[in-house]
């Protein structure tokens, strides 16, 4: 084999991933003059999955509901996470979210306004108050575009369409990352003194998903292999409302904003079935509850023609719907030949978000590998067993910034660049090129399809011990088969080649999900087990943490951090803190 070469680029801090959290981290890291910062993305800039967030960014301004404040946002977040969240992350998050949103405004984001000229806030599932700042139903687009231009003007180098295949660790510290440029397949070594991972989730493990192709968990898998701890892997969120028909659009997100703006859910008998499952919050119950309710209605034979529920917003009138939900209107008109201002439409649960991820320090977003930081969906701890709508976008901003700060502070005391380990890199180049050499190799797309089928049938919205076990066996068999993935063609922009690594990453993470799901013998938040249907107090104090030694995944329990008294007190009033204030109660 001809001698392979690679290019070496040195940066103090590299950020892998250019969604909301990656860009926010890079902007923060670049605030120190002289510090060299690069952002590396596997897509084009501005295309990351953040762009698909629709409904809004949650921050407790109280622009419409004055009693809102960080305490109530914290309370809602912990309650919806079923208390296995890291309380300190939730506290930091609730306190800092408003400031981060205002920052966006000064960088050019233009949110919808209230009559008084302030940022408009819409209601959303399980938020006590109207809290989601938004711009129509394309808030994610607004966030990423704003951050993208801010980053372009912050002296950050951006490398687009790069596949990262390995994180390098030297003397127990992070030393860089290795990969290749998709454009021509040439190898590149980024030597770095600190790395921020902002690579998002792994929603592509399911067939019906709202996630873009990017969500294959690359950063998580790379870090896992490098020795980083993963937590709460069993917690995968299914969004209640994905598109159902026609087949090609199945899974595409229908924003929770539809229900936020007054949309009603009905079964085939015309009944607002949410009254059976959550009569108080109805359509605006938390996502885990609504998704399960739709699932149960379909199972009971009360589903819509293509196996979902009916969602109806037509009573709000065409003008209102087109103004507040322009993307939804357009999406259904073009892709489903359906006018949502005139008729109800079918929706069903779709894989949406992975609450599990890299275990991080709440203050700095540091992982257990020195020099490696993580923020956004790839990290874990804020959302617990179920994420609230709108909390993801503020998560990106709050912890993106903190990860950037963490990395910045870390490099001020970190040693210089570690010399590259030539043998390690040669072995890696060899491994990465291996799929080209396999004659009659297995098609990576087909392995991906099988993986999605296994996860859908065995580890989806409804789980049980025996079915998970069977899924694990099938997954391990598939993992063997995947060792023989092969591709043809050249190294120039070859999606089949890229897919090989996506699939390897997903296989590893799926094993983590199933193993963790088997361990949690109860139902909590998004994790619903028919053999253990109840939420059990003894499991509320435990997080499952996984590590990987290159051979096997090891799983251990860690105690959920206990809340200090002043925070614990917020849960003793029998209602949200903001509502206590409202009714004249005392609040610390």
């Amino acid at each position: 084999m001809a001698q392979e070469s690679y290019e070496t680029l040195d940066y103090d801090i590299i950020v892998i991933g250019a969604g909301g959290s990656g860009l926010r981290a890079a902007v923060e890291a670049s605030q120190v003059p002289g510090l060299k910062v690069a952002v590396i993305t596997k897509s084009l800039l501005g295309k990351a999955h953040t762009v698909m967030a629709e409904g809004g960014v949650a921050a407790s301004f109280g622009n419409l509901d004055a009693p809102d404040g960080w305490q109530t946002h914290f309370y809602d977040t912990m309650r919806s996470g079923h208390f296995i969240n890291n309380y300190r992350m939730a506290e930091i998050f609730a306190k800092e979210a408003p400031e981060r949103v205002l920052e966006l405004e000064t960088w050019g984001a233009v949110f919808d306004r209230t009559k008084e000229g302030r940022i408009m806030q819409r209601p959303f599932g399980a938020h006590t108050f109207r809290r989601l700042c938004h711009i129509g139903d394309h808030t994610g687009l607004e966030l990423i575009r704003t951050m993208q231009y801010k980053a372009l003007h912050s002296g950050i180098d951006v490398f687009q369409e790069v596949t990262m295949t390995k994180l390098l660790v030297k003397d127990g510290r992070v030393a860089g990352a290795f990969g290749y440029f998709r454009e021509d397949g040439r190898f590149v070594l980024f030597r770095a003194r600190a790395i921020v991972l902002a690579t998002g989730g792994w929603g592509k493990i399911f067939k019906v998903t709202s996630n873009s192709w990017e969500s294959t968990g690359d950063g998580a898998a790379l870090a896992f292999r490098a020795g980083a701890d993963m937590m709460d892997m069993e917690m995968v969120q299914f969004h209640p409302t994905g598109m159902v028909w026609p087949p090609g659009v199945r899974g595409i997100l229908v924003t929770e904003g539809v229900r936020g703006e007054g949309g009603l859910l009905r079964n085939s008998e015309g009944e607002r079935f949410m009254k059976t499952y959550d009569p108080e919050r109805m359509e605006l119950s938390s996502r885990d509850v609504v998704a399960r309710s739709i699932f149960k209605e379909v199972q009971a034979g009360r589903g819509s023609p293509h196996g979902g529920a009916w969602l109806d917003i037509s009573h709000k009138g065409p003008e209102y719907v087109k103004a507040k939900l322009p993307g939804m209107y357009e999406q259904f008109l073009t892709l489903a030949d359906l006018d949502i201002t005139k008729e109800p439409f079918e929706v069903a649960p779709t894989c949406h978000y992975t609450m599990g991820g890299l275990r991080v320090d709440p203050e700095t977003c540091a992982t257990n590998i020195p020099g490696l930081f993580a923020a956004g969906e790839v990290a874990c701890g804020l959302h617990g067993a179920n994420r609230l709508g709108g909390n993801s976008l503020s998560d990106l901003l709050v912890f993106g910034r903190r990860a950037g700060l963490g990395a910045r502070e870390y490099v001020s005391g970190a040693p210089d660049f570690a010399p590259a380990d030539q043998a390690e890199l040669e072995a890696e180049m060899d491994r990465v090129l291996e799929p080209f050499r396999r004659e009659n190799g297995v098609n990576p797309y087909h392995v991906h399809e099988k993986l999605q089928e296994i996860m859908t049938n065995h580890a989806g919205i409804m789980r049980s011990g025996p079915v998970l076990e069977e899924g694990l066996n099938q997954l391990l068999e598939l993992k063997e088969e995947a060792r023989n993935m092969g591709i043809n063609g050249s190294r120039i922009y070859n999606p089949g080649w890229h897919a090989v690594f996506d699939v390897e990453n997903m296989l590893l993470l799926c094993e983590g999900i199933i193993r963790s799901a088997l361990e949690r013998k109860e139902s909590r938040g998004a994790h619903w087990r028919t053999d253990y249907p109840d939420e059990l107090p003894e499991w509320q104090t435990i997080n499952f943490v996984e590590s990987y030694d290159g051979e096997a995944i090891r799983i251990r329990t860690e105690a959920v951090n206990e809340m200090p008294e002043h925070l614990a007190k917020l849960f003793t009033y029998g209602k949200a803190p903001g509502l206590v204030q409202q009714s004249g109660g005392k609040e610390s």
């Binding site: 501005g46 233009v110 306004r113 000229g117 575009r145 231009y149 372009l152 090609g248 357009e330 999406q331």
Partner: protein
């Protein structure tokens, strides 16, 4: 609907290429990107096509379908029932491979545009009616189909003279922001080259987000440039002050 669609997909790289025919089983509601995925998963795993969200939010999958700039994820196969569908990369940008082009020039241009310079601290006090004017421009998904179709960029090597429709919207977004204090008019008049646009509105026609690029962004920006540089009152003042033939002289010299 027929049982099968026929597609002719351009395959190749910067050294050259050709259209290759593929057959794809038809499915209800299928879009062109679905058909390309079918080809990729079964016939040609190395077929290069950019895409991310498949929901018309990200603007990655711009290409030319039967000669028209389109988002592949939003273009229905049944719009072309009975026809052979030709899919080619955007022609304005250099080819990388198959349907993927090098759009990096756009990101270079983006750096040239000064950001919002707020005239006061956040939170801003802004009415919805003021927000409405600029929010239209915020719908842009940077698919660059407007850049692809703009004949200044496409046919006349205008990439040195004109930033293109996408960036006229971007400039308009800041220029018309009620809290902005920066002056981008000299940029528009010179480097950004707003006057290169001769208002044929092709960009507006291909915009998948239905942004009225020409009417709501380019024309008002042209007016700002005209007010600054070609205001007849100012020309009159110049003439009265004795520099009568200044304009004519300039022309004859050049």
């Amino acid at each position: 609907m027929s049982e099968e669609f026929t597609l002719r997909v351009w395959r190749g790289d910067k050294t050259g290429g050709e259209e290759v025919e593929y057959h794809v089983p038809a499915e209800t509601g299928m879009v062109v990107l679905d058909a390309l995925h079918h080809i990729q998963h079964n016939d040609a795993p190395d077929l290069a096509v950019r895409w991310n969200c498949k929901a018309a939010h990200c603007g990655s999958c711009g290409a030319e379908v039967n000669g028209q700039p389109k988002l592949l994820c939003k273009t229905r196969m049944d719009d072309y029932a009975g026809e052979t569908i030709s899919v080619k990369p955007m022609q304005t940008f250099p080819i990388i491979k198959d349907l993927v082009t090098d759009v990096s020039w756009n990101y270079q241009v983006a750096k040239e545009i000064p950001m919002l310079e707020p005239t006061g601290p956040a939170p801003f006090n802004m009415q919805q009616i003021d927000a409405d004017r600029v929010q239209e421009f915020h719908r842009c998904i940077e698919c660059f189909l407007c850049q692809d179709t703009c004949h200044v960029l496409r046919n006349h090597e205008g990439q040195r003279q004109y930033f293109g429709p996408r960036f006229m919207i971007k400039i308009a977004e800041f220029e018309m922001h009620p809290m902005d204090g920066a002056d981008r008019v000299p940029l528009l008049a010179h480097e950004a080259g707003v006057n290169m646009c001769n208002v044929t509105k092709c960009c507006t026609e291909v915009c998948p987000q239905h942004i009225r690029i020409t009417d709501n962004a380019i024309i008002p920006l042209k007016e700002r440039v005209a007010d600054r540089y070609y205001d007849p009152v100012k020309i009159l003042l110049r003439r009265l002050s004795g520099k009568k033939n200044a304009a004519t002289n300039t022309h004859t010299v050049s």
